[in-house]
């Protein structure tokens, strides 16, 4: 058996906000191609951890390493250009633009890099990017809505489109912050189906979630966070059976 390739390593990360120790001694290894879920009760530090990984927050100590590159200290756009895309709890989309343009912008950013003074070409003549975007919209089942105003989409459709915006960049690592938060059961199920479909593409994913249904149907590995510490780590079955986890998160003996 070959050694699994660790693509994301959160190494000894601490994060303090004043007197509050939001993250303590976090050590997390995410293996290539796996779906790694981070669960925990409200206030456990899940979002803080995600924001440290993506460069929105600087850790008080420790560092985040992605495929041999230290992410700590880099800006979000630089981290994205390294191959990390992010889905937000509340979909972050271009509400004023059409669905097609929403998906074309990340494709252009992937192709042209962080900045390109690309003023002479007409967007109408970017056939390759457009076809790629239309193809991606087919994949997430939104092709018929491509000319719609993104701001007028339903919550579930905004999420699907946001996923398409991330996937078109072919990221090596996809971070999902509660991808089904605030969704109806129906929208939650379609989103899970979509995420399962993506899974077959071999991309590494980190999911922050507190919906158990979502976590156990998607994750290969689960880390349980409570009060800023990782209290358990393992496969879904190992985590489910762990008494510490039951006490801290799944309701304990009560």
């Amino acid at each position: 058996m070959t050694m699994p390739n660790v693509v994301l390593h959160v190494a000894d990360v601490h994060k303090r906000f004043g007197g509050l120790h939001a993250l303590a001694d976090i050590d997390l290894q995410v293996e290539e191609g796996q779906t790694h879920a981070i669960i925990g009760p409200n206030g456990a530090g899940k979002s803080t951890l995600l924001n440290v990984i993506i460069g929105k927050l600087a850790p008080s100590s420790g560092q985040v390493v992605f495929d041999g590159t230290v992410l700590t200290g880099r800006k979000p756009y630089q981290i994205n250009q390294l191959g990390i895309a992010r889905v937000f709890q509340t979909p972050e989309i271009f509400a004023d633009l059409s669905v097609l343009h929403n998906v074309m912008i990340p494709a252009l950013a992937k192709r042209d890099g962080a900045f390109k003074l690309n003023m002479l070409r007409s967007l109408e003549h970017e056939h390759a990017v457009r076809e790629e975007a239309e193809h991606m919209l087919h994949d997430v089942g939104m092709h018929s809505a491509r000319e719609d105003h993104a701001g007028s989409l339903s919550r579930g459709d905004k999420r699907r489109m946001e996923l398409a915006m991330c996937l078109i960049q072919h990221p090596r690592l996809l971070l999902l912050d509660e991808p089904t938060a605030g969704m109806s059961r129906h929208d939650t199920n379609t989103t899970i189906e979509l995420l399962k479909k993506i899974k077959s593409r071999g991309m590494t994913k980190v999911i922050i979630e507190h919906d158990m249904h979502v976590v156990f149907s998607l994750a290969d590995k689960i880390s349980v966070l409570a009060q800023g510490r990782i209290i358990a780590d393992g496969t879904p079955d190992q985590v489910r059976g762990n008494p510490k986890v039951q006490e801290a998160y799944l309701g304990g003996t009560a």
């Binding site: 994205n80 989309i93 912008i105 900045f115 003074l117 070409r121 007409s122 076809e131």
Partner: protein, 382 residues
């Protein structure tokens, strides 16, 4: 590479025809004389450029008159030192205002929203005050920068002797006055409209729209937004400099009042009144404001008492007293009122009004964009 989508080409040709025919179709409005037509073209350039920043990125600058003023000063200096020809004056003005915009934009764009607006306003007011104080050797202070008989004009002197009296701006020897000056300005309006159209329809323009719509998503999409906004800022500053230089070409003097905050505010009004983010809107806004400014500021008490002549004497006196506050020097009061009405009832400006009327006439017509794309299916159903 310079090929254009058909609907852009139609818009461009229609726009060019409308501009070139201005001396004809403005005749019934009593606006078809070169002096006013020049201002129409010049301020339309200013507004089209301003819209590249404000309409596409959403960054509202309250200091663009500074670049307009710098363009005017630079053009007059080119007349004084180099040549009375318009080409070096324009080049010099566009380069100087571009550099000036680069410096101010670099500092101001470290903030967004209201802080950005305040920073640009502060820099413009600083420029205005410096023009009256420290920089009087360059700006000639309150008198304004003018041509004089002692000017060097080194470039001209290499080719011919100075004539008697003050020379006028020329283009390759042709004096730029009257309709020649108008068509000179009109050429630049059409050219800058073309550039604005290209920028808006390019991948770069799409990135600017993305920045306006959601800057957070832009950052997490791998886009460094700062150079994009700075590029838009510098381009719009160069447009303002070009407009300022054209004003100096049609009337070779430059004063600091061109840099005042009211002048910065005026271009904001033009853009919003016409429709920010649209191509034609800022042009229409500029024309409407310059046209009504011309009419309203010319009205005096005599004309008003004639207008209210049908009223009994006491009522006539009151009517004249009240309405006189809205005309002449008080024309800005009328402009303010119209602006309030537009923002409250028609936030998209004149262009939104046009769209609303068009959709009332043709309720279920599909937009050209969706009709176009459904016709070109790139791949079969899976």
């Amino acid at each position: 590479m310079l090929a254009m989508p058909r609907k852009d080409l139609i818009l461009f040709l229609g726009f060019a025809a409308a501009v070139l025919a201005m001396p004809i179709w403005l005749q019934p409005f009593g606006a078809a004389y070169p002096d006013l037509l020049n201002r129409f073209a010049i301020f339309a350039i200013f507004a089209v450029g301003f819209n590249i920043l404000f309409g596409l990125t959403g960054y509202l600058s309250f200091g663009h008159a500074a670049f307009f003023g710098v363009g005017s000063y630079a053009a007059v200096w080119s007349f004084k030192l180099l040549s009375m020809d318009a080409v070096p004056a324009l080049l010099f003005a566009v380069i100087i205002s571009g550099l000036f915009a680069l410096a101010i934009g670099f500092l101001s764009l470290r903030r967004s929203g209201i802080y950005f607006s305040i920073l640009t306003l502060a820099f413009a007011q600083m420029s205005y005050n410096l023009a009256y104080s420290v920089f009087t050797p360059i700006t000639n202070g309150e008198t304004g920068l003018q041509l004089s008989l002692n000017d060097k004009r080194y470039l001209d002197r290499m080719f011919f002797e100075a004539g008697a009296g003050l020379p006028s701006p020329t283009l390759f020897g042709v004096t730029l006055s009257g309709y020649v000056a108008f068509y000179f300005c009109a050429f630049f309006l059409i050219a800058t409209f073309f550039i604005a159209q290209r920028v808006t329809g390019s991948p770069f323009g799409m990135m600017l729209k993305g920045i306006k719509s959601n800057q957070t998503r832009m950052n997490y999409t791998g886009v460094n937004t700062r150079p994009y906004t700075l590029a838009a800022f510098v381009i719009s500053g160069m447009y303002a400099g070009l407009a300022g230089a054209l004003l100096a070409i049609t009337d070779p003097l430059a004063g600091a009042e061109r840099m005042q905050w009211t002048a910065s505010g005026e271009v904001v009004l033009m853009t919003i009144l016409g429709g920010a983010g649209t191509l034609v809107g800022p042009v229409i806004g500029a024309w409407l404001i310059k046209y009504f400014e011309n009419i309203f500021s010319a009205i005096n008490d005599g004309i008003l008492s004639q207008f209210w002549g049908f009223l009994p004497e006491g009522a006539q006196h009151t009517a004249v007293l009240i309405s006189s506050k809205f005309v002449g020097e008080g024309w800005f009061l009328t402009l303010g009122l119209v602006f309030v009405l537009i923002v409250v009832f028609l936030p998209g400006g004149v262009m939104e009004g046009v769209r609303r009327i068009a959709s009332m006439i043709r309720p279920n017509k599909p937009t050209p964009a969706s009709a176009d794309s459904s016709a070109t299916k790139p791949h079969p159903a899976e």
